[in-house]
């Protein structure tokens, strides 16, 4: 049986967590940008 290597597992999980964190910040940034241009709704 060939197993996923530990580096793959670590990269997947840590990369996922980092991307999720960045995404939250990105959404807030987009809202601020839209609010500045009065383009929310």
């Amino acid at each position: 049986m060939i197993l996923f290597p530990v580096w793959f597992f670590e990269t997947l999980v840590l990369g996922g967590i980092a991307l999720a964190g960045i995404s939250g910040a990105l959404l807030l940034g987009l809202l601020v940008r839209d609010a500045g241009g009065k383009k929310i709704w």
Partner: protein, 479 residues
């Protein structure tokens, strides 16, 4: 914490339910002040910007199934299970060009069913309507059940109470605010979910190193790390197509395409796809961490919350409770609004009130939201099956709609008979595969049959659709 006990007292659970329930209703009513007209209520004034457009797609697609089924997937199918669930983001990514096309082709449109009716005629409309309503109801029931199960697992709130309160809260704010309320609350919910998931995952990592989780899996459950896990690899393709089918056909996503400002839809769906992509991986990690923590999992569908609660105690329980409540509300409200639009515009208007004014339709849509909420509640009462069983039954049905929709939007030669046949044959053969082979093949086979049918019938008997038919329609269905 021993398996089976709760991490929150029932009193704390009721308090959280009350605080967040009141908050969603208040915010929904605040944003819903704009929803006076029919366009405001059903498509949020057709002027939604990039931030809210992106967030509403993310929040709606992060369902309770994402936060509860992804850990279950990982626990049963390992690393491939996490990756399989993540492929559902391809639905959002691939819908991006469709969103642009939909907004341009139907500037006055309201629903996906309306598109099928105009593009392929009455027979396709009937088949598509049945699939849409069945899927919408299945999705809502699976989330109503998930809500009841979660509150029971975390706080000991009886299933029927928890499920009822969650449905009631969503019905109330959607009823008052329509799509404005749904999209506004979706933004807050998406940010809470993203931050909550990250906090839980980081907190778990600080207690159990990743190498320990990996080492435990390697020693005790190596199949979960197997690069060649046939059933799991099959699940990747099945989930990918299921996700695409869900998004391409459902009015939940079409109503957002209609609601976003011209030029926003494509960017919003692309961004949403990338933002959604890591969520099942992070949630799935909770499932894979379970063996390392020594949790005896007797209920796979609540393994995520159990892991968080075991490691983080009371705070973990509260956080998971909030995240799952947000993921439930952000999807149930969208389904209530989108299903109400379909029933009002594509069933009730043509059958009972062809000349109804927009003001009357606005009132009817509100009543339909209440009715859909009540039907969902009644179906949830018996607490049947597991979440996966309920959800994946709809897979081949929605998979069969993928190609009729793509061809309908971009290929003028695709014809009516081909679309009807594709949906019927795809659904039928897919369901047969579901019963005879397994759930993980049903969508794959249903979509393949639908593809062959659409392409074959179009090449055999090419049609010639006039795209102006779509643009001219102002949403008034004809009997």
């Amino acid at each position: 914490m021993p398996e089976g006990s709760t991490v929150l007292s029932a009193r704390a659970g009721y308090a959280l339910l009350g605080v967040f329930g009141v908050m969603w209703i208040a915010l929904g009513m605040y944003w819903g002040r704009r929803a006076r007209s029919l366009d405001g209520f059903m498509v949020a004034g057709r002027n939604v910007g990039l931030a809210l457009g992106t967030a509403t797609a993310v929040a709606t697609w992060i369902t309770s199934n994402t936060t509860m089924l992804a850990p279950q997937f990982a626990l049963q199918l390992g690393v491939w299970g996490m990756l399989a669930y993540s492929t559902a983001s391809f639905g959002l990514l691939l819908f991006a060009p469709l969103a642009r096309r939909i907004r341009q082709a139907m500037p006055h449109g309201y629903t996906s069913v309306e598109f099928i009716r105009l593009r392929y005629g009455r027979a396709a409309y009937v088949v598509f309507l049945i699939i849409s309503l069945f899927y919408g109801l299945t999705w809502m029931v699976s989330m109503g059940m998930a809500g009841g199960i979660l509150l029971e697992a975390l706080a000991g709130i009886p299933y029927h109470y928890g499920m009822s309160v969650i449905l009631l809260v969503c019905v109330v704010y959607t009823l008052f605010g329509g799509l404005y309320a749904v999209i506004g609350t979706d933004f807050v919910q998406s940010v809470i979910i993203l931050l909550g998931v990250v906090v839980v995952a980081v907190a778990i990592l600080s207690r159990v190193p990743l190498t320990e989780v990996y080492g435990n899996l390697r020693a005790n459950r190596p199949a979960l790390l197997n690069v060649f896990f046939p059933a799991a690899i099959m699940a990747v393709f099945n989930n990918l197509l299921f996700g695409i089918g869900e998004i391409f056909h459902s009015n939940v996503w079409w109503s957002r395409a209609f609601a976003m400002r011209e030029g926003v839809g494509m960017k919003a769906y692309l961004l949403a796809g990338f933002i959604w992509l890591p969520i099942p991986v992070v949630a799935g990690f909770l499932g894979l961490a379970a063996p390392a923590i020594g949790i005896n999992v007797t209920r796979p569908d609540v393994v995520g919350p159990l892991v968080a609660a075991n490691l983080l105690g009371y705070a973990g329980g509260v956080l998971v409770f909030i995240v799952v409540f947000c993921s439930l509300a952000s999807s149930i409200d969208s389904l209530l609004a989108a299903t109400s639009d379909v029933v009002t515009k594509e069933v009730l208007q043509p059958l009972l009130m062809p000349n109804a004014s927009d003001a009357r339709l606005r009132k009817v849509a509100s009543l339909v939201i209440v009715a859909v909420g009540l039907i969902t509640w009644a179906i949830c009462l018996p607490k049947m099956g597991t979440l996966a069983t309920v959800l994946f039954f709809a897979g081949p049905l929605v998979g069969s709609t993928i190609w009729p929709i793509i061809a309908g939007l971009f290929w003028k030669r695709s014809n009516r008979a081909g679309a009807v046949l594709a949906m019927l044959l795809g659904s039928g053969v897919g369901l047969l595969a579901y019963v005879q082979i397994g759930w993980y093949t049903a969508t794959l086979i249903g979509t393949a049959v639908s593809f062959v049918t659409v392409v074959g019938t179009t090449l055999l008997r090419p049609g010639s659709f006039d795209w102006r038919t779509l643009a001219a329609e102002r949403g008034a269905a004809k009997a």
